[in-house]
């Protein structure tokens, strides 16, 4: 991957002495090559790896989507058997949500939270590495189901009892349950780490209400994960115990109620929607002010509405169950709460528009995406409101109308915002801008492709086309729009290809010196991450920054004259740190997070195929935890002052790493 091969500037150059905590591994010291990536605890490298992994899974999920669209392009499609189709569409959803949208959100969280609050790294660097490896091995474990007999086939929300052994005898659902359990650990550990970082690691003067909107939205996201992940953990455990150990949680004959799964899943699942969308909102809130030359309109309302969404997101889960038979009273309550969660979302959209109003809009590629997001998200949001009209929802739900709805939210809102984020921060991360012409091709293909794909799905849904059907018969009026949808899907594929071409071309050109380095502040931006060199040096900032207000970096570049007109005080280059301070104390790399994470899929395979396999898994896990706690967070031989990293004590490491896991093993 071109994305991860970009060398990063390295801060400390002294070769430290080597010490081996368990006598197994030497303390890793690699500064370049693959070793520096597998042992890294640097939040930026971890963020890049999250992004790269997310993009690879994006291609996997995209190929699954194309297979679905080839199958449905014509009536009675026969490319895929019913069995394969059910696995493909399930894995498309699981991949796109858990292995694409979540890690891409995590990529932005990891890279930018410490930078935007002016910290040197996250609170627990090794736990951060552990989160990433957990996510990666979980994702690979989930995907390996294709080699071991086929993917999960119960839909991404996997309603019981269709996921029981009686109805899904293959191993796909086991991979689903255990794979999501492993990626869940990644999210939970990451959430604890990042919340601690935001609350505790802010630089001098960075009060909560001076944090950029992106950091705020990511903070709310992490809180949602913190409380939502344990709920799906319970659900997945119950499912695993049913499937592997003969428990009775979803066996109706034994008295189980299938609605238990639905409630547990959606109590997780609805906050999860906001886990995906809030980072996107944050990204848009960074891009629009930069390219409007105005501060964000209504900062406190932006923050407040994000928090409101975070709270209200817990009170709407049963709107996924309006036809499940939860009773008219519950339907009424959830119908109303769902309608009113539209209010804070609407506030955000109007505030973005108000930020643009009267501004100087410059249509660089990131801005194109950031402008498209409110429009596309509004379509998804409004169709969401039509879903909240619960009696009518009994017509719309489980048809292509709802497929259209959530794709406008996830693709039109979230993926578009992530694209904008890539173009916006690429120069900060890698030191050069992506090509703007290709970027515009990318954008327009994306916008046209996604509207051609997901727009007609509204019509198909209202025409009565059910979701999750492997074929449709001619004569229901579905033929025309399905063909359009499938053509649109391939336009999206072209758009993705143009992005990849852009990345490769721009990288090659930069390496050959055909593109100039972007410099610290290529967009005349506003927040702290631009106040250091590009690419960001390993130690982030040369010295501690004292923050005196929102948009600190911008206020160091600009002031007001006596007519209250904006005047330049300094250039971004002058204000930004040079990134050449060699004396910043850094956390040392470590093998142990990877070792611990590698134990998890082994335990997973053991639970599915042969319990004996869990033994090496448990040895890796427990041995890894032991090595981890015995290894000091910082190499004592590096003598960089006192150790102020609050890496976990033995107990905490066990508690946070082990608690979820011991139930597993």
């Amino acid at each position: 991957m071109a994305i991860i091969e970009q060398p990063l500037a390295i801060g400390t150059g002294r070769a430290p002495e080597v010490r081996s905590p368990l006598g197994v591994f030497a303390r890793p010291t690699a500064k370049g090559g693959w070793r520096s990536w597998v042992t890294t605890v640097d939040h930026k490298k971890i963020g890049i790896m999250y992004g790269a992994a997310g993009l690879v899974f994006f291609l996997v999920g995209g190929i699954e989507a194309l297979l679905i669209r080839i199958q449905l392009a014509r009536p009675d499609g026969s490319l895929l058997s019913a069995e394969t189709y059910n696995q493909i569409y399930t894995m498309h959803g699981v991949t796109m949500i858990f292995l694409v949208a979540m890690p891409l959100g995590a990529a932005f969280s990891n890279y930018f939270i410490p930078l935007q609050v002016g910290a040197r790294d996250v609170a627990f660097p090794r736990l951060n590495a552990f989160s990433f490896w957990c996510f990666l091995v979980g994702g690979l474990f989930l995907s390996s189901s294709w080699i071991f007999g086929g993917g999960a086939d119960g839909g991404w929300f996997a309603y019981a009892p269709n996921t029981g052994v009686a109805y899904s005898p293959g191993h796909g659902m086991d991979f689903y349950a255990l794979g999501l359990q492993i990626t869940g650990i990644a999210s939970l550990v990451g959430a604890i780490n990042l919340i601690t970082t935001v609350l505790n690691m802010r630089t001098k003067g960075m009060s909560l209400m001076r944090m950029p909107v992106l950091t705020w939205m990511l903070l709310v996201t992490q809180f949602l994960l913190l409380f939502a992940i344990p709920v799906i953990t319970v659900a997945l455990f119950l499912l695993t115990f049913d499937r592997r150990f003969g428990a009775n949680f979803f066996r109706v004959e034994a008295g189980a109620d299938p609605l238990l799964w639905q409630h547990l899943f959606w109590i997780f699942g609805h906050p999860e929607v906001y886990v995906l969308v809030l980072p996107a909102f944050g990204i848009v809130s960074e891009i629009i002010p930069t390219f409007s030359r105005k501060p964000i309109f209504g900062y406190s309302f932006m923050v407040g509405s994000g928090i409101a969404i975070g709270f209200m997101g817990w009170g709407v889960w049963a709107h996924h169950m309006f036809v499940s038979g939860i009773g008219p009273l519950s339907v009424t309550a959830f119908s109303l709460s769902t309608m009113f969660i539209a209010v804070p979302t609407g506030v955000k959209i109007l505030n973005w528009l108000a930020t643009m109003w009267g501004g100087r809009l410059r249509f660089e590629v990131p801005m194109l995406y950031a402008i498209a997001v409110p429009a596309m998200f509004t379509i998804g949001g409004l169709s969401g409101v039509t879903h909240s009209v619960s009696p009518a929802d009994t017509q719309q739900t489980d048809t292509y109308y709802i497929v259209a709805h959530f794709h406008y939210v996830v693709f039109g809102g979230i993926i578009m915002a992530f694209y904008g984020g890539f173009y916006f921060w690429w120069p900060k991360i890698f030191g050069y801008k992506l090509d703007s012409k290709l970027g515009k091709v990318n954008f327009w293909l994306q916008l046209i492709g996604m509207n051609m794909t997901f727009g007609p799905m509204h019509i198909l849904g209202l025409q009565g086309m059910s979701r999750r059907i492997d074929h449709y018969s001619p004569g229901f009026g579905f033929e025309f729009w399905n063909l359009i949808v499938s053509i649109g899907a391939f336009i999206i594929a072209l758009s993705v290809a143009s992005f990849l071409v852009n990345v490769v071309l721009s990288t090659v050109r930069y390496k050959r010196g055909l593109i100039p380095p972007a410099g610290p502040d290529p967009w005349d931006a506003r927040s702290l991450e631009w106040m250091t060199a590009s690419p960001v040096p390993e130690h982030n900032f040369d010295e501690e920054i004292e923050v005196r207000g929102l948009d600190e970096f911008w206020h160091r570049k600009y002031g007001y004259d006596k007519d209250h007109k904006v005047v330049r005080i300094a250039t971004g280059e002058e204000v930004a740190h040079k990134g050449d301070n060699k004396n910043v104390h850094l956390p040392s790399p470590s093998y142990w997070p990877l070792v611990v994470a590698l134990g998890l899929p082994l335990i997973g395979y053991g639970l599915i195929f042969n319990l004996l396999l869990t033994i090496p898994g448990a040895i890796l896990l427990l041995g890894g935890v032991y090595g981890w706690v015995m290894e000091p967070p910082d190499d004592p031989n590096k003598a960089h002052g006192h150790d102020d990293h609050d890496d976990p004590s033995p107990g905490l490491a066990l508690a946070s790493v082990g608690a979820e896991e011991v139930g597993n093993g």
Partner: protein
């Protein structure tokens, strides 16, 4: 979790800037804050398991083995009392290390771990008895829900015991001093949480018919 809320809304003053810009802005150390967050998350984990149990405990077929047939309230009350006492000894361990009395700290840590182990022993004894009476994990929906809920709690206690013992070993080797009192405090937080969860489980599962 009220305490997490407190942590979240703590004033954004800057405690202890140390030149690198990572003093604890909230005044709570990173590790302690992380433990509070983790425990907040754990509330939802046990919340899910307890809800599952409540939904299912009465959904067994007539004649199938149920709560009334197996529970031995006096025995479980006794073991609950033991676990509750371990919270007291945990407090004593913390207060010992805070005033620098490492030996007392070791004694109370060990006592806490032993009390926890007695509780776990009681749970194993209880489970064995239930199994002999015909309540297996797969017997009926009550069995599945009961063993899963109490089993998860038992695993949490066991992890706590391992953490206490590792503290004990560290202290014995001379690596745990007054300066590290916070480590004991944080593990104490976990231990108290697990105890409180047991009080909830004991009340809901055993005492409320």
């Amino acid at each position: 979790m009220a305490d997490v809320a407190v942590a979240t809304h703590a004033p954004a003053e800057h405690a202890g800037d140390d030149g690198h810009g990572h003093g604890a802005s909230t005044g709570i150390s990173n590790t302690k804050l992380a433990m509070w967050l983790f425990l907040g998350s754990e509330c939802l984990l046990f919340g899910g398991l307890i809800s599952t149990y409540l939904l299912y405990k009465n959904r067994i077929a007539e004649g199938s083995i149920g709560p009334k047939d197996v529970f031995d309230i006096p025995f479980t009350s006794a073991s609950s009392f033991v676990l509750l006492m371990s919270s007291l000894t945990m407090v004593l361990a913390l207060s010992a290390i805070q005033r620098g009395d490492e030996r007392a700290n070791r004694v109370w840590l060990l006592t806490t771990a032993v009390l926890g182990s007695i509780f776990i022993g009681g749970q194993i004894y209880e489970f064995t008895g239930f199994y002999r009476e015909g309540l297996g994990y797969t017997t009926n929906i009550f069995g599945s829900a009961f063993y899963t809920l109490t089993g998860f709690h038992g695993v949490h206690v066991s992890i706590g015991i391992i953490m206490l013992m590792s503290l004990f070993v560290r202290s014995y080797r001379g690596h745990l001093h007054q300066a590290q009192a916070e480590t004991v405090e944080i593990i104490g937080l976990y231990w108290h949480f697990v105890d409180v969860v047991w009080i909830v489980i004991f009340t809901i599962v055993y005492l409320i018919p």
